[in-house]
Symmetry: C2
Subunit: 636 residues, 2 copies
């Protein structure tokens, strides 16, 4: 790929503009404690104190630095497509400040520099020390790629070199790893831009050490004089360090930690060609996506530990489904596609991008969900078991990991469209964009035009500077039952797809045109019979978009609405609604209440009245009058 | 009533025998810490230490004494119907020990005597000081009534006199009340046997003080130097002291506390004729039974605070529904019947007696449920939100309130059968028993024979020593749609019932016979449309018995079983099953799983296979191989 694709897509451009115009500026103010009424971040002030340009005490979580790193990474992606000298100046000044905060030996972490300098590397299990380093490495790589400026990259290479001198199997080094995976994937990125194999080896070391016995966290906590059992059921499943990674067959523990680790494993399997590591990735992928994922691509069904629960345990009203976890799933899916071209990875990536990730942000970019449930009864959020479920998005969070994570995802979404392999270009996502590649030494421009996800028509112009042979492989989405394909106006049968991709291998000429048309009817989705929560229920999906019903459209008590098996499901585009979305309408039934009387229980016939059901995209719920929401609908 | 009815009932005798032969002896061993592998109670040892016959430290909850009191009360009821000199000797010795543990001023509480003598009456909010006193008063009254022995009654009158000298509106007295209501209803009992109005007035004082502002618990905690907000959402709703009792319109907070308070309010309304207090009772009754009660008569849907949630919030899998709360509901219902004859109270009382109370005990009396959910997926009990739901009964509990509470309920069940008023006898419950009354100065024997709840036929012989006129009023159960009635072989039309009772006012002669036959088909019950959890679901009920399906009969994944709207529901008695129960059988459908494959979500038609559904009484669930259980069944 000669450059990052320039996203011109109607759907995604709106989000990218919001990230550029609203989210990034707002988060900068938040990081600087300038938002009235919002929880104080103190993150920039911590850096200023560590840099010696301000005085005071450290405040915030031990991982407060990572919010700054994620913001900086989002800024980098945004600058890559939307130059903004003023924003770049702010970022440069922040990077200069980070340079000052870096210690002589290369160490960079404001918590340990300001608050506990003597405790450096004594509690990897809980203190996110390498996690913060990883996020700043990701920011450094992104900023370097976007601007060509090396300052932060150099800072983080120095830090990485120092970390490499501290951790390792060699005598005198710490033979351990972080309680929150992140540096593993970041080091691979550092390796990619620098070519320095030391970083790849260090990443491999962290992954290979994980879960070995005697357990590093036991040794470490014993050294601290801490003999309490670990708070998470006394189990290191929480941080996926209960077993060596190749022995892990099921996703367990904290879901974001899991995603970052699996992503790094996929990276390493790809870079090193390690077949057993690849197998481990595939086993875990199968478990997550076929047994522990909501239809929105939300993962992590348990609030306790922000964690995976167990196979098929997917309660809709208790779900945790952290925004960051779905974002992590996108990261992992992208890397699985690098490891092995298969549309099932792209299907999940698409499901997450259009549903469980962006549901985390209000359409105006000003409020966020940390938790993305599939069923909300606002009154029931007062129950102790549901106190994590917020019926409306919040301005900012004490633990503000999700908003900047979402910002960096959206700002970098062009990176998910294509996979390049030798003389092959795989189109994973359909999204308006302009990209350029080089095949057989010739520059090839590829331009996509589409109104996806609302319309299944996609126009792809493939334009080499001169005729040359290569392959364009088109993903046929898993949700699509009928796809029409034309190349330069001529029909091409969609058949003999390989791992879900339709290969077009030919001599391409300037201005060649691919026309795709994916049938996009409303589908009644069913869950696997073991997902007992959804027995007798259906969810509506059209293209990649999962739908929900809201109280504002359907009145209160949504579970009393029932969709007949034979209901006609109409879809229409409403340009004025929720920024322009396709709405689904159907004649449904609603349990009558008026005749019932007082009794709680009766041997009575139920009465139904007709109800025109209106469903809207799940990602856009709670952008009007707050109220109930439901994805899985009762049927009759 | 000339004496307590002697219960001869097939169904209940078995339970009473178990209480006598298993529960009471087992609990005595448990209270004496002689059960291997069970949590230590230390309750008797605490009394021995307080009595000065042993040395050591206090152990257990602050309310450990109340376990002994409830046990002693159960023993009293058992002795009343089943004399047992050996048991009576043990009880007498325990009472002598309690006499020694009583302080000179009349005070009796082992926690404050042994552990915190200086802290007496400083933390009524949390320390259950008057609660323990109340339970021992109940035991004293029961023991006096059963044996005629006054020793414990005298001990508790001395204590009550002392309490009366400490609490009151008069200058220098504590103007407060206990954080756990109980003494209020106990003092009414003490008044009933002694005729001493002081006790009735003291009970009234506690009820009337409750919820007044400035709040007693605030003043009290301020005096202790404790300025923390109260742990229950910072609210005294927990102990129903957030408002004066007449201003309370909804049941809130800890459900057992609520039941004991409402029971005392009904007692006082009856004894004093206080119309506004009666109205308050009726308002709360309506709220609990029409908006916050499970079909099993389980109440308190929230684990946090063991508490009521809010109207129509009745999740089946998260329910707390403590055994003690349903027992408390029986106490309250019984008193509402005293206050006002209306079969709706008896209907709820019966629902609790046959379902949500006895479900708390294994059929052999050796294990107990504290929590009585309506849906159990054992694997999901590992979820943090469901850790209170145990998939199997436990041997004993740290907080062992439920087993002895159930023992005293079962041992005293004869007290719930009749209500007597002037020359009227109301038959609230149908249960084999022999009782005697006096009307117009003539002794009247009443004998019931029935195989209730399995069969709707009831034979009642009404036998005055000589012909005399009085009224026998028969409750027509709310669940019954057709009842046949004969008096001395002649049909009597069941019509013009008054508040659910059929009045038979006539001159009764020796050996008059009433024959009742209640139609008892299997009913498909529906929940109020606002109980969203049960939308599209049905529960099976036959007579007063609520049914459930279990994995042992129906295989795993019970929510995948669906009962057709038109299914024929067959009931048959199986004498070998679960001690002899009526079983319900129906042709149902089960979601097929084998064809589905791996995918979690598909736009697929569901396939069903036929399944012969077998339902058993809810109270008897988990008496065979443990597994899933479900009350509310999906329909198709």
């Amino acid at each position: 790929m000669l450059s990052q694709p320039k996203v011109t897509d109607t759907f995604w451009r709106r989000y990218m503009d919001i990230v550029r115009d609203e989210v990034i500026p707002y988060q900068w103010e938040a990081l600087n404690d300038r938002i009235e009424g919002a929880a104080k971040s103190h993150a920039i002030e911590n850096i200023r104190i560590a840099a010696g340009v301000a005085e005071g005490e450290y405040h915030g979580f031990v991982f407060q630095d990572s919010d700054v790193a994620k913001w900086l990474e989002a800024v980098a992606y945004s600058l890559a497509t939307d130059p903004n000298p003023e924003l770049e100046k702010i970022a440069d000044e922040l990077i200069a400040l980070l340079g000052k905060a870096q210690q002589e030996d290369g160490y960079l972490n404001t918590y340990f520099t300001v608050k506990e300098p003597e405790a450096r590397w004594t509690n990897l299990r809980d203190q996110h020390e390498l996690y913060c380093a990883g996020h700043m490495m990701e920011a450094a790589v992104a900023y370097y790629r976007a601007t060509g400026k090396r300052e932060l990259l150099d800072i983080m290479c120095r830090f990485a070199d120092y970390i490499d001198s501290v951790f390792g199997v060699e005598e005198g080094k710490i033979q351990g790893y972080d309680g929150h995976q992140e540096i593993e994937l970041a080091l691979v990125k550092l390796y990619e831009v620098t070519g320095n194999e030391k970083y790849l080896k260090l990443s491999t070391f962290f992954i290979e050490e994980r879960g070995k016995q005697p357990h590093f966290f036991d040794k470490e906590s014993e050294a601290r004089g801490d003999n309490n059992p670990f708070w998470y059921f006394g189990s290191y499943k929480y941080s996926q360090s209960h077993l060596p990674v190749r022995e892990q067959k099921e996703a367990v523990g904290h879901s974001v930690r899991a995603m970052y680790m699996y992503a790094a494993m996929a990276d390493l399997a790809e870079k090193t060609g390690d077949a057993t590591l690849k197998e481990a990735c595939k086993t875990l992928w199968d478990n997550v996506t076929n047994k522990q994922m909501y239809i929105t691509a939300g993962i992590g069904s348990s609030e306790f530990g922000e964690a995976f629960s167990f196979d098929y345990d997917l309660p809709n009203d208790l779900s945790y489904t952290e925004t960051c976890a779905s974002i992590g799933l996108v990261f992992w899916a992208r890397r699985m596609l690098n490891l092995e071209v298969n549309s099932s990875y792209a299907d999940v990536m698409e499901r997450a991008l259009y549903n469980g990730t962006i549901s985390g942000m209000e359409l105006d970019g000003k409020k966020f969900f940390y938790v993305n449930p599939l069923e909300v009864w606002p009154e029931a959020c007062s129950r102790h078991e549901k106190r994590h479920v917020k019926p409306v998005r919040q301005k900012w969070f004490n633990c503000a990991c999700c908003p900047p994570n979402l910002a960096r995802l959206i700002a970098s979404n062009g990176q998910y469209i294509y996979t390049e392999r030798n003389n092959e270009i795989f189109v994973n996502l359909y999204m308006g964009n302009e990209a350029s590649f080089e095949f057989n030494g010739k520059k090839v421009n590829i331009v996509q035009k589409t109104e996806y996800p609302w319309d299944g028509a996609v126009l792809i112009s493939v334009s080499p500077e001169a005729a040359t042979e290569f392959t364009v492989a088109l993903r046929i989405p898993g949700w699509c039952r009928k796809a029409d394909l034309k190349v330069n106006g001529e029909n091409v049968a969609v058949e003999n797809t390989v791992n879900g991709y339709m290969y077009l291998t030919r001599t391409w000429n300037p201005d060649d045109q691919i026309e795709l048309k994916f049938d996009m009817p409303v589908e009644r989705m069913k869950a696997h019979p073991r997902v007992r929560e959804n027995a007798g229920k259906t969810a509506l999906q059209r293209g990649p978009i999962v739908y929900c019903i809201e109280e504002v459209d359907n009145g209160a008590n949504l579970p009393n609405i029932s969709l007949p098996q034979n209901a006609r499901l109409e879809a229409y585009f409403d340009g004025d609604l929720l920024g322009g979305v396709v709405v689904i309408q159907a004649e449904a039934a609603r349990l009558e209440e008026s005749h019932w009387g007082q009794a709680l229980y009766k041997a009575a016939e139920e009465k139904y009245q007709s109800h025109t059901l209106k469903a809207v995209p799940y990602f856009a719920w709670c952008n009007r009058k707050p109220g109930e929401m439901l994805v899985w609908l009762n049927e009759n």
